[in-house]
Amino acid sequence: MFVEELKRVFRRPRNLIILGLIALVPILLGLVVRFASHGGPRGGGGPAFFAEITQNAVFLPLAALASMETLILPLAASIIAGDSVAGDAANGSLRYLLVRRVSRARTIHAKIVAALVYTLALSLMIAVVGLFAGSILFPHHQVVTLSGVSISFLHGVGEALLAALVVGASIFSVTMVGIAVSTFTSSSLAATSIAVTVAIASEVLDAIPQLERIRPILLSNYWSAFINIFRTPVLAGPIYKDLLEQLGWMAVFYLLAVFNFSQRDITA
């Protein structure tokens, strides 16, 4: 069941195109920084690690992750999540799945796992493509962390992949919101739009100083936590907070998804 759901997600041409386009971003970013800028970017600004791209291959995927985490990744995850139940409801295959041996609970769980796997695939894709492009365009010697400590290139690659996992997991809340909304409607577009809106609203609220008190409960509050992997020693606190935040949001919307789906009338 879970394998079939993965096939459904990864065989869809549209989903593959999204993955492909996202894989292009680190390549373009690398090419632009390598050939179009003079003397490298200076003076801050831009996403995290942007200034360090030219120094080491490892920083290209990180800069790509940092620049895509705020909009492109949540959007891509929302598209798949919004489609997870609503898409099948709209094309009618949902009712034919549910009149078989599988319980509704198993169906929704398979869909949740498949959407989460796709979310992780998105961020890992950025990291892997970014590492390859970075290795071709930029030097790959020892990596200097934010604390000024040198680590081996392989160690740096490992930390970049770990950062990709953390970034992917940071989007899980958005994915889960998308799935939960998807259980209410036959319109994938509506579910996707609502999930993206929740993500953007969270980022907007996070930027308002007067709302500092509610920041800890916003799903995007710790999105930049993956940067702390590149300190020496790794500062795990913010990463744990990020994961805990995601777990909290996931738990609530997981309950909504599972209970709404298993108790509602399927009229589509």
Binding site: L146, S147, G148, V149, P209, R231, P233, W249, L255, S262
Partner: protein, 353 residues
């Protein structure tokens, strides 16, 4: 119809539990009061002074709320000041002997101070620059303070403070999960903007865990320096060693240069003080205003100023913050202190204005 309970009721309960956990967890730990061996203020001060050095790893949080409600309007102002408005995080690693590492955590960068017995490194990840200080062989740690008996010192200190301040041991609390005594200093005199100073002391090893400064203008502390987490164990030695990465611009500073950096440039001009103890006010020369104006920006400064009529009928500009008040006199000099504006105005009167 009962199904609606499951579809929305259970997720709603889940949301309530999650929100409750998010908001209550910090409140619950703060609300608890540990039962500790009662101590007098001088006993506590003596214990702090006599405490053996400890090794630890801690996350220090510095929160300043000096501008109060003006902060959001003047978010650009804080950046120019020496004490940043808002919150900053510093990881502190304290090892054996001189070993110390301070790691200032910024969103996308960090600054580090690595100290060992042989020298110190200051690293700034933005721009990849490092400064290096090599320590001489002379051990300069022999301070005369440590020769004295902590109990006598504490008694002397409390005796000196007694006429002007209430020194008390407040309700016990938890700081960063550790049971702590609260040492509270409050002015006996009126007119100070400081309502109290609180020092939170670990009940096991008498290490200071947090300090807060409370203002008469605000119910929450205006200045808060404290550990969010602290673990009393010796940190790994790798935390203290630093080798500048290849390609780093290293600037070497000698010990003598370092000392001269901390000496006042012209020790002759001592600032004039008015009042005593909690009511102490400093009269700053005319140059102070231009320095302030340069760091805050003339426009930002103008936004903070309020005109005040002095006893002699002339107009001065008052600048109010949650902790410090300033009075810019018509002569151009500035009165500053952690006192209410009325104290500044009467001091101005004493100066003949």
């Amino acid at each position: 119809m009962a199904r609606w309970k499951y579809r929305f009721g259970i997720p709603l309960v889940g949301a309530a539990v999650a929100l409750g956990a998010a908001s209550l967890t910090p409140a619950l730990t703060n609300a608890q009061t540990p039962l500790l061996q009662p101590m007098s203020a001088s006993q506590l001060i003596a214990a702090v002074m006599g405490a053996a050095p400890v090794q630890y790893t801690g996350q220090l949080q510095i929160t300043s709320n000096l501008l109060g409600s003006d902060a959001s309007l003047l978010s650009n102002v804080g950046q120019g000041l020496a004490l940043p408005e808002g919150t900053s995080q510093v990881m502190v690693y304290r090892g054996a002997g001189a070993n110390l590492r301070l790691q200032e955590i910024n969103a996308q960068s960090e600054r580090d101070l690595y100290v060992t017995s042989s020298g110190a490194w200051l690293w700034n990840s933005a721009g990849s620059s490092a400064e290096h200080v090599e320590f001489g062989s002379s051990t300069q740690q022999s301070s005369s303070l440590q020769q004295m008996n902590p109990t006598e010192m504490a008694d002397a200190l409390v005796g000196r403070l007694a006429p002007t301040s209430n020194v008390t041991v407040g309700a016990n609390t938890y700081v960063a999960g550790h049971a702590a005594y609260t040492l509270s200093l409050a002015p006996r005199q009126s007119g100070s903007t400081i309502s109290s100073l609180r020092v939170f002391v670990d009940a096991k090893n008498y290490h200071v865990l947090a300090v807060t400064v409370n203002s008469v203008y605000s119910s929450s502390p205006v200045l808060q320096v404290g550990y969010q987490t602290i673990t009393f164990a010796s940190p790994s030695l790798s935390n203290f060693s630093f080798t500048p990465p290849a390609g780093t611009a290293v600037k070497t500073v000698t010990e003598a240069q370092l000392q001269s950096m901390f000496e006042p440039t012209n020790p002759g001009t001592k600032p004039v003080t008015l009042g005593t103890s909690w009511q102490t006010v400093v009269e700053l020369p005319k140059t102070a205003l231009s320095q302030l104006s340069a760091s805050v920006g003339a426009k930002g400064l103008a936004e903070l100023e309020t005109p005040v009529t002095l006893t002699n009928g002339e107009t001065a500009e008052s600048i109010h913050t949650e902790l410090v008040n300033l009075l810019v006199l018509p002569t151009g000099s500035v009165l500053a202190g952690a006192v209410r504006s009325s104290v500044l105005e009467s001091d101005a009167g004493a100066l003949g204005l």
